[in-house]
């Protein structure tokens, strides 16, 4: 397994560059290759989760060994948290590729689509695996540049505008991240995250560290679309082709935004009260304002995009609350419950928001519109889309027995037990608002009277699209098992443990 860690980057990267060469000569090569690559990665990560006993694998690229406990090469670290994210990225990626087979038929240049998709996945896999800060930046840029291009894939007015805004704001984010990294390097003379953590804990210049932390939070906050850094998200996510929206909303903002925040502020920096407070406040703002913004939207994909901001708020609240409780020496069980709730909501959100964007794509595919006012009565004509979107909507609104309920339950219970009553109340309020706008979606799209013209032409989407949606719809139900004892030890608990041990991450890696 040790040597296989690097495959998470090599395989999608290799596929990305093989596709434009060979895809020209062999039809359907691009689809087969990207599908197989992601299937392989899925089995790899599942194999690790079920047999690896969640041990931490450290892979030293180019075989550079540490000199006197100072790491000099790039380290790839596969631990519980990385594995958790890898599972999300590759499995959602697999389903999205499957879905794209039929959906992308209307676009030309399919080769480039799969190339960019593979590049994006390679970048994200790299981000969650790497233990080196600058390497993280490089992989992050690979992922986002691919996503810039994918957002503009339709090259119509809206797509281009969205892509431009996304690029400028995303570029600012990258700059801030680079600035933060260079400041950190200036301070610690090392790039390895474990080593930085070790060095920073010994030399205490809290003001500079705080400055760096704020810069990094802003940078990753933009990437993760936290309010007030969110403005690019609704444009970009609603303009991209639907499978890509599903990738962006379901995976990208988590892998390069939330994951980085979690990893850096739990495992690299020592947790401080100020940062914990910032993260919690930003999460709360995102949750509330995102929800309020989503409810008035009539463009289906825009509604879903704003809802992503709001749901990411839940995740960040869980994470921030965990930090707050840890720093105030609260009950460690409560802290781990908050973090588990956040991470659980993260995987749940990947599934149901991914599915909802695929549903939106299916509706657009069948009726040619994204405007809720022009839909209606689709439940009869599109039973698969209707029932899967019902499953996803109920999951995201926190209706039992779907998975979203359990993650919200964990977050709220943790908030109450940590005595953050206001947060709990807001989480409940936003949960109600979420329910309201998803019922609005259900009502205008699938119920009501039929409004679209040429109703006889509307029919269910082709098999490959339906298959992905069904799998994800079932996952919405099945993932609620993740919270059960016995099953939670496989996927969820290792990830939570990594965060609960905070800076032990560094001693594990540099071997002190």
């Amino acid at each position: 397994m040790d040597n296989l860690v690097i495959l998470f980057v090599i395989v999608p990267l290799g596929s990305a560059f093989l596709i434009p060469i060979i895809g020209k000569f062999i039809p359907h090569f691009q689809k087969a290759l990207s599908l197989l690559a992601l299937l392989f990665l899925c089995t790899l990560i599942l194999n690790y989760l079920f047999t690896g006993n969640s041990q931490c694998i450290i892979y030293k690229v180019a075989g550079w060994e540490a000199v006197e406990n100072v790491p000099i090469g790039i380290y790839l670290v596969l631990d519980g948290l990385s594995a958790f994210l890898l599972l999300i990225i590759n499995s959602i990626g697999f389903l999205v590729v499957f879905y794209s087979f039929s959906y992308m038929r209307k676009y030309t240049a399919e080769n480039y689509f799969y190339t960019l998709l593979c590049l994006m996945i390679a970048g994200m896999n790299g981000v969650v695996l790497t233990g080196d800060l600058f390497n993280l930046y490089v992989f992050l840029e690979i992922a986002v540049i691919a996503s810039y291009a994918l957002v503009a894939f339709g090259i119509e007015k809206d797509e281009l505008e969205a892509s431009f805004k996304y690029q400028v704001l995303g570029g600012i984010a990258s700059l801030l991240i680079l600035l933060g990294i260079s400041l950190l390097y200036w301070q610690t003379k090392t790039l390895n995250m474990a080593d930085i953590s070790h060095v920073i804990s010994t030399q205490a210049d809290s003001k500079t560290t705080l400055f760096i932390q704020i810069i990094l939070i802003t940078g990753f906050g933009i990437k993760g679309a936290m309010i007030p850094f969110h403005a690019w998200l609704p444009d970009a996510h609603s303009s991209a082709p639907s499978p890509i929206s599903s990738m962006l909303s379901g995976v990208l903002i988590k892998a390069i935004g939330i994951y980085a925040i979690i990893r850096l502020f739990y495992n690299m920096f020592a947790i401080t009260y100020e940062i914990a407070l910032i993260i919690t406040v930003i999460g709360t703002l995102s949750m509330v304002i995102g929800g309020l913004l989503a409810i008035g939207q009539w463009d289906l994909k825009r509604l879903l995009a704003y809802s992503s901001i709001s749901q990411m708020g839940y995740v960040v609240i869980g994470i921030g609350m965990g930090m707050l409780i840890l720093i105030s020496n609260g009950d460690k069980m409560v802290a781990s419950m908050a973090v588990a709730g956040g991470l659980f909501h993260l995987i749940n959100h990947a599934v149901f928001k991914g599915l909802l964007f695929l549903n939106a794509g299916a509706i657009e595919y069948a009726t040619g519109t994204r405007d809720l006012k022009q839909m209606g009565g689709l439940a009869k004509d599109m039973p698969v889309t209707s029932s899967t979107s019902m499953s996803a909507s109920m999951a995201i609104s926190g209706i039992p027995p779907f998975n979203g309920f359990f993650s919200k339950l964990l977050i709220i219970i943790a908030a109450i037990k940590g005595q953050y009553y206001l947060l709990a109340a807001l989480a409940v309020l936003v949960s109600i608002i979420t329910l309201a706008y998803f019922l609005k979606f259900q009502r205008y799209a699938f119920f009501n009277k039929t409004k679209y013209t040429g109703s006889a032409l509307v029919k269910e989407v082709p098999f490959t699209m339906a298959f992905s949606m069904i799998v994800m719809g079932v996952l919405c139900l099945v993932l609620s098992l993740l919270i059960f004892p016995g099953i939670r030890e496989i996927i969820l608990s290792p990830a939570v443990e990594v965060l609960m041990e905070t800076t032990e991450y560094s001693s594990k890696i540099i071997g002190l």
């Binding site: 805004k165 007030p228 309020l292 027995p401 219970i413 699938f446 119920f447 009501n448 016995g486």
Partner: protein, 622 residues
């Protein structure tokens, strides 16, 4: 204790399997549903006879292969998720399975006519299993899961084929889902105070702020499910547009049983109430009675009218629990059972009328008593029962509530001092109920028959049986209330108590029956049958032959009375609807926020740097 496992799992599993069946074989699905409901009742009776215990959830793990992951997790969870089998839950389980049987008989033929409602029977069975699961579960989180699924099935049991019905479905699930979310807070608070989620181990005092918050948030859940003020507004909308079996099944019977069950648990097991909370509950109870009944009076749509009554009657149960005495609680529970009986009967009758005529407006109906005699008689029994006419069951339970209030007034306390207000308002509510049911009965069954309705026939036997059973139970519950049913059913639940005042239901019933027979004899023997025939005049002009007096016209006087008119107008605009008020608030804040997003890149960049500088200024300057 295997029954407890089967009774929950059997309907859910079969319900899920029924999804696979195509919609064309609705009758087969209906029959399977009936069989499962009967089996559930059988288990429920067996369960009723057992001793009260607490069962580990690991009884489920017997169904799963030993080596699997699921086995491990189920038995792991089983240690802290338990089922509580005590007289209260046994009673409610029995009631739920009984109504499931009654309504599944009715739906077999009725629901096949509802073309656009898919998957009625699967969701029916899932509802059954989850309702029983909610009642039996001892662990609050397990309870919440089952409780939440019920909201979802409620949403799926109404068909959203047009604007109004889909809006009603949306409103229903938003209110129910909102209350479920609020309950999470209450449950979390309980977990924080008591460090356990098992109802049977809880006894929380409501002297602290946190305790009160926990109680109030859970009360929201109970009130929304049962449909008490101010969370009642989904019920009239739902009943107006949902098919009759759905209305009879959930809002009329199951949701009442569950909501009141939760209220009973809250008031008796989980919390000890202080008198201020009593006062709040009593106020809400009487407000529910009066507001809902006033709104019911002016309705022209009989399904909506029944919906408002489904709200108004909850007020009595809430009052009963607000009293907090064993007599009051027993009265509340008794009224809950009675209400479920006659209200589901009323919805089934309304459904029969709707199926045969296709009209839901009282103005367009009339004179159906001759074409649908059995439905008429059943509906009459239910209507008299809900209006509290002795010797029917509605009277018996209302009488117990009045007794409870009087008894309650004897103790010291703020709420107790105001006993006369509670009593007066409850009685007024009952009178107004009678008034509106006169309208219901007259509007549908009496008066001049609408010429379009000449060809209307009685419904088939499968739709009659449930109503007749319900009517018979209504009568017998009323006749033998004090003598047999109340001691037999409710003493195990709330403990022994004394009735205040004198009331012998069997004796009175005998008197009533005798007087009715006497009246009939006089009517048949004497010459009262003769009456004068003459032309009718209105204002000196001869009245047209075909003209009809729609019964609703009489009630418009109330609607147009001075003070009431403004209130009614406001009510129709949704001023008292908590759902609409919140909706306006949220949408207006959305408009403001939407305007801020101008779509100009520069603004967005400014936000980012503003956010960054705010953070820097706050932390680096201090």
């Amino acid at each position: 204790m295997d029954e407890a496992g089967y009774i929950i799992l059997l309907p859910i599993v079969v319900g899920v399997i029924l999804f696979i069946f195509p919609d064309k074989v609705k009758i087969v699905k209906g029959l399977i549903t009936l069989i499962i409901s009967l089996l559930t009742s059988f288990f429920a009776i067996r369960l009723y006879q057992t001793e009260s215990t607490i069962v580990d959830l690991s009884i489920f793990s017997g169904l799963i292969a030993k080596d699997s992951l699921l086995y491990e997790s189920i038995s792991g969870i089983g240690t802290y998720c338990q089922l509580n089998i005590d007289p209260l839950s046994q009673l409610i389980t029995l009631g739920i399975s009984f109504f499931a049987v009654i309504i599944s008989i009715y739906s077999i033929t009725n629901i096949t006519k509802e073309k656009k409602l898919y998957h009625f029977f699967p969701f029916f069975l899932i509802t059954l299993g989850c309702a029983i699961g909610a009642v039996l579960s001892d662990n609050l989180i397990l309870f919440l899961i089952f409780w939440g699924i019920l909201g979802f099935t409620l949403y799926k049991l109404i068909k959203g084929y047009d604007e109004e019905s889909s809006a009603a479905a949306k409103k229903t699930l938003i209110l129910i889902g909102a209350s479920d979310s609020v309950m999470i807070i209450g449950i979390a608070l309980i977990g924080m105070i008591a460090d356990t989620y098992n109802m049977s181990e809880l006894n929380i005092s409501t002297s602290t702020g946190i305790g009160i918050m926990a109680f109030l948030t859970l009360l929201v859940g109970s009130f929304t499910k049962a449909g008490a003020f101010p969370f009642h507004t989904w019920i009239p909308d739902y009943t107006k547009k949902a098919p009759a079996p759905s209305s009879a099944y959930l809002p009329a019977s199951l949701d009442k049983l569950l909501g009141i069950y939760l209220l009973a648990r809250l008031c008796t097991d989980i919390f000890t109430l202080n008198q201020w909370l009593s006062l709040i509950i009593l106020t809400l109870g009487v407000t529910t009675i009066i507001i809902a009944v006033l709104l019911a009076l002016i309705q022209h749509d009989y399904k909506r009218l029944l919906g408002f009554h489904a709200v108004s009657q909850v007020g009595y149960m809430v009052v009963g629990f607000g009293l907090g005495t064993p007599l009051g609680i027993a009265a509340g529970l008794f009224h809950m059972l009675n209400h479920a009986l006659y209200k589901s009967g009323l919805f089934l009758s309304a459904g029969s009328v709707y199926q045969q005529t296709g009209k839901s407006d009282l103005d367009e109906l009339g004179g159906l008593s001759k074409s649908m005699p059995l439905t008429f008689i059943a509906a009459l029994v239910f209507a008299l029962s809900i209006s509290g006419i002795p010797p029917l069951n509605g009277f018996a339970s209302k009488w117990m509530i009045y007794q409870g209030i009087i008894d309650f007034g004897k103790q010291p306390g703020i709420a107790n001092q105001l006993w006369i207000i509670w009593l007066a308002l409850a009685v007024i509510g009952s009178a107004l109920t009678l008034a509106s049911f006169i309208k219901f009965i007259t509007g549908i069954f009496m008066g001049r028959r609408n010429p379009e309705l000449e060809s209307v026939k009685e419904v088939n036997i499968l739709m009659l049986i449930p109503k007749i059973i319900l009517a018979l139970i209504c009568i017998s519950f009323g006749a033998f209330a004090t003598g047999y049913f109340v001691p037999e059913i409710f003493f195990p639940v709330v403990g022994k108590f004394e009735f205040v005042g004198v009331w012998q239901s069997s004796f009175i019933s005998l008197l009533v029956v005798l007087s009715v027979i006497l009246g009939l004899l006089i009517y048949l023997s004497g010459n009262i049958k003769n009456f004068r025939t003459a032309d009718s005049f209105v204002g000196g002009e001869k009245w047209e032959e075909k003209a009809a007096f729609p019964v609703t016209g009489f009630y418009d006087t109330i609607r147009n009375a001075k003070v009431l008119k403004t209130i009614y107008d406001k009510a129709e605009k949704g001023w008292f609807d908590i759902y609409l008020l919140t909706k306006h608030l949220v949408l207006s804040s959305n408009k403001v926020l939407s305007k801020v997003h101008t779509g100009v890149l520069t603004d967005y960049a400014i936000w980012i740097f503003a956010g960054l500088s705010i953070m820097l200024i706050i932390y680096l300057s201090v």
